[in-house]
């Protein structure tokens, strides 16, 4: 009945999840296999559906902003930042330059910890426990820096409408610590990358596995580093106003296999370190919050930003200081197609690797999806 994309009838199905050792998040994947080679895959999300957009409906905008942070524990700053950007765009608020710089520092630190987590999870799925542990050790530095800036290791809530939270201002001591942390990270990640790419067993495992071609990636509306790994040179950071003062390169790889995906993330780590160094090097003095703004009713305003996983979209309209018609679209929802496609043709042990290579974050994704009742 539903065998329209495969002519042969597939006979065996192996369901995995929603509790599984390779997939840390709760999601269900059904793999359709023939002789241990995956012929088709189906990823079911919606397990995590908590209805956060409905909760946000009608909340005061400041409250709604801090609620968006609870969408995801990995890219929490990206959500709150984008949500704040929507309000600022709608109300026409200018933010001080210093606040903009500090937002960039927090966002890039978040990209660092997200990419390191991605690499660690990838190593774990590859079966390489030692690398996973070393990467978690490196990542701990970033978590401590984030804890120092925001006061919490995971949800730090730095941006507020008009600037950043006073707690998150960077003084001399903090800048010194961030500098030291960046030096440590650069050294350790470079050593790791050398070791990783010169390991013949790992390279044999990941080269040419779970390939996503450029054409398919564009057809499936992939976004973020997964798209850049197939050779498409798109990064929203290039067009974002906040990133204008900084020099950085956009990393692309050609092949679209697991190796390219891992390498894109590794090189992006170095670019993030570069951005953070520039930001804390020329941190402008002055105020960190612009308090002179008034609330008014606005039509629906949209905002797109580049987050560690790709393109993030937030939009809402303001009515009497309350949010209405909230829509959030996270990068992982567009990458699900790529995940299912990358599985096809891989050995079943590589199937989870093919899903992990697209950097899934299903807790982000499971907000606005309607539960289909049986």
């Amino acid at each position: 009945m539903s065998d329209n994309n495969n002519k042969k009838i597939i006979e065996t199905e192996v369901p995995m999840g929603m509790v599984h050792s390779a997939a840390i998040e709760p999601y269900r994947v059904r793999l359709f296999v023939e002789d241990e080679i995956v012929r088709d895959a189906e990823i079911t999300v919606g397990i995590n559906h908590r209805g956060i957009e409905r909760i946000m409906e009608g909340l005061p905008v400041e409250k709604a902003n801090s609620l968006t942070e609870k969408i995801c524990g990995i890219c929490s700053n990206s959500h709150i930042w984008n949500s704040v950007l929507v309000a600022e765009k709608a109300l026409g608020i200018e933010i001080p330059e210093r606040a903009s710089y500090i937002r960039i520092v927090v966002e890039e630190l978040e990209r660092l910890h997200s990419h390191l987590l991605y690499l660690a999870h990838g190593s774990e799925v590859l079966g390489h426990e030692t690398f996973a542990m070393r990467l978690f050790y490196i990542r701990e530095t970033v978590m401590e820096l984030l804890g120092m800036i925001g006061g919490n290791r995971v949800q730090y809530g730095a941006p507020i409408i008009g600037g950043i939270r006073p707690r998150c201002d960077l003084n001399e001591m903090r800048i010194k610590k961030i500098k030291e942390g960046m030096d440590f990270l650069e050294e350790k990640v470079a050593a790791f990358a050398d070791r990783f790419t010169s390991d013949p067993m790992i390279m044999a495992r990941i080269t040419g596995v779970a390939v996503l071609s450029k054409k398919d990636a564009i057809r499936l509306a992939t976004s973020g580093p997964t798209l850049r790994a197939t050779g498409v040179d798109i990064d929203l950071r290039r067009d974002m106003e906040s990133y204008d003062p900084f020099e950085f390169d956009i990393i692309t790889q050609k092949d679209g296999d697991v190796k390219s995906n891992l390498l894109v993330r590794v090189f992006e780590i170095f670019e993030s370190i570069k951005i953070i160094r520039q930001a804390i090097g020329n941190l402008p003095p002055g105020k960190i919050t612009n308090r002179s703004w008034g609330m008014q009713d606005t039509p629906i305003v949209k905002s797109y930003i580049e987050v560690p996983r790709g393109k993030l979209y937030h939009s809402y309209k303001l009515e009497e200081g309350r949010t209405r018609n909230v829509i959030v679209r996270t990068p992982s929802i567009t990458n699900i197609g790529a995940m299912e496609h990358a599985c096809i043709g891989a050995h079943i042990t590589d199937a989870q690797l093919a899903i992990v290579q697209c950097d899934p974050c299903f807790t982000c994704t499971d907000r606005a999806i309607k539960i289909i009742r049986l």
């Binding site: 009945m1 369901p15 599984h20 050792s21 079911t44 590859l126 067993m201 079943i348 289909i372």
Partner: protein, 329 residues
């Protein structure tokens, strides 16, 4: 008197082997993996001794299986076949003739492997098909496909491993056979007592390498862990064991580590395990050295899928055949 002596020797050696073997998983985890991963690691008694004792004290449950009793008995059979292998390589048992030969040991190891297949097809864990989840919803893909448990996948893999995965270790067994020109373990040991250990000949050295790879494949250690990899089948055939049956699984693994290393010492060094001989220390030394070498390799390797597994096994098998040819020359 001699019978009594032999009995004491056999049981003494068995108990000694058991006492050493329960420390091996802990040593592997604490001194090798944890040190390489730059952390403190668990105490060495935890994995090999305390975990089985803990499982013995847990409440027994009925596993999700079409034949729960048969499923629960399988690890005991596996442990017994290990014990028999160990009995047959002791010098007191050489009068048994055909039983104390390479053929009997190959047969017993085959039991060890075949059991994984039975385990896989009998286990029906909650973690895949049985998970209460609305899979076959309207609009789902391929709704008529047969739904297979994760363990069935591992059962299939166990079948493949029987077919080709254990080649290296069996070929390595026949290197000493070819050199000593006898399949009886007694003769192989005697040959080495006269002519020196086989390990120090060219054929023997290559054979030892092949034996080591075969040892890792038989123990399902990284990178040859495809039977129970965490990336897809979680623990594979062992998923449903709980309480004391899981304790047997734990003990079997530690004991098999010891037995295979001890077999190596017998076949390649000419030192069978015997508690009345000071050379048993060398035997135990080899048994500790083998897991350490295995752990060193496994800490730095990812899982091999069949794409890497086939070439490795084929290459190692060819090496083994070369060793046998070298032995005849």
């Amino acid at each position: 008197m001699t019978i009594l002596n032999s009995l004491i020797a056999v049981f003494g050696t068995l108990i000694l082997a058991f006492l050493v073997s329960i420390w091996l998983p802990g040593i592997e985890r604490k001194f090798i993996h944890a040190r390489i991963q730059q952390r403190v690691g668990p105490p060495i008694s935890s994995l090999g001794i305390m975990a089985p004792i803990k499982f013995f004290f847990k409440k027994t449950i009925i596993p999700n299986s079409p034949m729960p009793n048969l499923y629960n008995v399988l690890p005991v059979i596996s442990l017994l076949s290990c014990v028999f292998i160990f009995l047959f390589i002791m010098p007191q048992m050489y009068y048994l003739g055909a039983l104390a030969s390479i053929i009997a040991i190959v047969g017993l190891l085959k039991i060890e492997e075949v059991i994984y297949m039975f385990m896989g097809s009998l286990s029906k864990s909650i973690l895949s098909v049985n998970m209460p989840f609305p899979d076959l919803a309207k609009g789902g893909k391929h709704r008529k496909a047969t739904r297979s448990f994760l363990e069935e996948l591992s059962s299939l893999r166990a079948f493949r491993l029987i077919a080709f995965g254990s080649f290296p270790i069996y070929i390595a067994f026949f290197v000493p056979v070819a050199i000593a020109k006898s399949i009886y373990i007694g003769d192989i040991v005697l040959y080495q007592q006269i002519n020196g250990p086989i390990l120090f000949t060219v054929a023997g050295a290559i054979g030892a390498l092949v034996y080591f790879i075969g040892y890792m494949i038989l123990l399902n250690e990284y990178p040859f862990v495809i039977l129970k990899t965490k990336a897809d089948v979680i623990e594979g055939p062992l998923l449903e064991y709980a309480a004391k049956y899981r304790a047997y699984v734990y003990l079997t693994r530690g004991f098999l580590m010891f037995v295979l290393a001890s077999l190596f010492a017998t076949l390649f060094l000419g030192i069978p395990p015997n508690i009345f001989d000071w050379k048993v220390l060398i035997n135990i030394g080899v048994a500790i050295l083998f897991p350490i070498a295995m752990a060193l390799l496994s800490a730095f390797s990812p899982i091999f899928t069949f794409r890497q597994f086939y070439p490795v096994v084929a290459g190692v098998s060819i090496l083994g055949i070369l060793a046998i040819i070298a032995a005849f020359i």
